[in-house]
Subunit: 495 residues, 2 copies
Amino acid sequence: MGDQTAYQSLTRTFQRLHHFGHLAAISSWDQAAMMPSKGNEARAAAQAELQVLMHQLITAPDLARQLQDAEQEALDETQRANLREIRREWSQANLLPEALVEAKALAAARCEHAWREQRRNNDWAGFLPNFREVLRLAREEAALLAEANGVSRYDALLDKYEPGMKSADIARIFDDVKSWLPGLIERVRAKQAAETVIRPKGPFPVDKQRALGLDVMRLLGFDFDAGRLDVSSHPFCGGVPEDVRITTRYREDDFVQSLMGIVHETGHARYEQNLPRDWLSQPVGRARSMGIHESQSLSFEMQLGRSRGFLQLIAPSIRAHFGDQPAFDADNLARLYTRVEPGYIRVDADELCYPAHVILRFEIERALIDGEIEAEDVPALWDEKMLAYLGLDTRGNYRDGCLQDIHWTDTFGYFPSYTLGAMYAAQYFATLRRQEPALDARVAAGDLAPVFDWLRDNIWSQGSRWDTGELVRRATGEALNPAHYRAHLEARYLG
Amino acid sequence: MGDQTAYQSLTRTFQRLHHFGHLAAISSWDQAAMMPSKGNEARAAAQAELQVLMHQLITAPDLARQLQDAEQEALDETQRANLREIRREWSQANLLPEALVEAKALAAARCEHAWREQRRNNDWAGFLPNFREVLRLAREEAALLAEANGVSRYDALLDKYEPGMKSADIARIFDDVKSWLPGLIERVRAKQAAETVIRPKGPFPVDKQRALGLDVMRLLGFDFDAGRLDVSSHPFCGGVPEDVRITTRYREDDFVQSLMGIVHETGHARYEQNLPRDWLSQPVGRARSMGIHESQSLSFEMQLGRSRGFLQLIAPSIRAHFGDQPAFDADNLARLYTRVEPGYIRVDADELCYPAHVILRFEIERALIDGEIEAEDVPALWDEKMLAYLGLDTRGNYRDGCLQDIHWTDTFGYFPSYTLGAMYAAQYFATLRRQEPALDARVAAGDLAPVFDWLRDNIWSQGSRWDTGELVRRATGEALNPAHYRAHLEARYLG
């Protein structure tokens, strides 16, 4: 050990964390996609043990000195970026006492477990005590991180998912969206009122939906030697870069959502499958941020997947699996996949209404963490904002209101990433279209290489080499510019 | 920590090991049943990291003193048995340096991974260098364990799977089997030459075979809330007691083998699913030995599964899934499942030829570990013994000869457990039949409770409370007595 540099010692610790993280990821995937019910208690105990171990590794007393020493060592550019990311992870972990990490894990598990039943039963009153405890611990975490980093409490949590991002900037961006989104939704709905959309007629057997999903994943370049498609009650992209596990869920009466869900998760998956191989065991080799991750799934789902050209391309596969129907005409598919209808549920929302769901949650969770409101204030605020942004009445309907998401049993500061991701994706495709004006025709003809090549070169292969701002500037020539997002929505929905 | 007894500290360490073992077990199952090929390298590295960690935990310097101190503490009978098992595991682990544990894991992963392809290609020359390295490390391990325990090298490895068993005793038992088995095979084949056996006519679609397998597992009491059935190239029983993962493999032209394979693995699974719940995190709560484990799978497969009564019981299920065929008559099924035909492949061997495969491997692996032969001597010895014991010529056929098993990519000293298990199972059923003379009629009528109750009371619920000899004596009134095995075979095949 004596002849190791401090930097080498650090990378060895992070390699160990990477290996243990591999086991944590696979066991979490298994829990969601494979595990029978009676396995839950033993699994939770095993995972908690691993989390404690990983926390101990990253809080070992040696690391502080190693970080200091490594700053003085001769490092190349990638190593220096890695050191920056190592310091970031180290700081976040070392500001939290082990007892808080453990208390958070237990409170989250309790809250999440009870939530499954409480959501079904519309039981806000039952949820509230567990939620208060989760919130109390999240505020405690936020306070510790905020004090150390000199930022607001909410910003301290946001920083875990969107390094460097400030909620004041997000609020400014979202306030702008709020100024034009309700009007845009209204105009689009008026325009679509005159359109005829033919709904596909089911049933659509699960095995055929799965076969179609696999075809589309192949078309999208998913590497099946380095990943799988399975089923879980909440679709996700998990596993590890060398072995990416995506999931979906099927309804026999409707294939439309599940299919686009697979396109979405395949976007996440290709990012993971194409991260820089030589750096996978180190923080610099990981995905840049949750917003950038979401920008990949939304590049696939929104920019590519719901485009007229792509739907024309996959229409023959849909017919091959389900037989011919008038609904499978490419123009009809395009109308189906761009239909705008405000609804209660975020995960079912269309592209245009989705940001309203996110902005509402951002505003509420920011006020919760910054202590401006309390847990019991959530339902009234939810009702007020749903009415203002989407014109929907959610009073008394907790199940389809503030109890619908799993996030707040555990996580605050994540929601903005969804809409930031949509904005990044729109900005990428604006760049791509400038570089390749024939993009849509090439997609319709089955040539997806321009999309894959651009994303691989500019995003996937870069890992965490640059901070988010620099990554986006290098890829598109400018910082995050939400004008591309608005232009994309207006072009697609009013063009 | 100060107010913990030494025994409590030890049990906490073994609880941690249990939790990490859970993750190791699930990730191994995943590797065999789910993982795509490109995941292998990262998985092997993650598993090796976990093995090193577990090795560090069990070799922590505190444990030696805690073991000494715990011997002086007031413990009840089960705690004392637990302390005995803790000491056993501790001793074995503490004799191995960490570097050897890691080198073994890496060499095994490399050898096993290449073997998949090499076996297909009949490539003994390609296998040999990896095998030499695996053997070199196994000998190193054996030497360390042998010196410390004052036993032969092979006995030191054997003891990992069959605590307390000596290869001299096994050799004596196997020499006796060799004195009557070839003659018995000959007589049975002469008798069966006059029999007509109708082969089932395929194809048997995989989904129907799976449905039949699940039916039979239900009949055999498998708890599907605490386990699963999946597919792997080499069937096994894995996972954890709270979540048992069994696998099979299907051939569309034959369901007979796969079905009985499922019965076999279900025997392993019920042992695991019925180990004492309160002690699962401790060594005393685990399965007694590999031979006792095998005695459960063989109680299900050989004693119960191939019996006339059981086959009569499941014949209607077979018809329900595949339609009616003359082959599905219970008498014909019984002839089919007791047909004796010497063949190359151990896992395909019938009940009567199976021990010949085991004895051959025992003799070769014992000579390998004790240094009497070298890796390159294996094929010639294999050929010689296959000819002597089963009258088969295997020259040049490595694929169906010495490359057929996965064991030697990793494991030496395990093979005897298969035939010891068959002997224990015969001894249990001799006892059971004395206690319940109407056993076969009850089985044929669908009442399997006598079998399950006896195994639960005498074996499953006992975990590792007693050493193997005591467990078998308490269950059957005598030590291992291979006479029951010979009597069972003669009664079934000549009776």
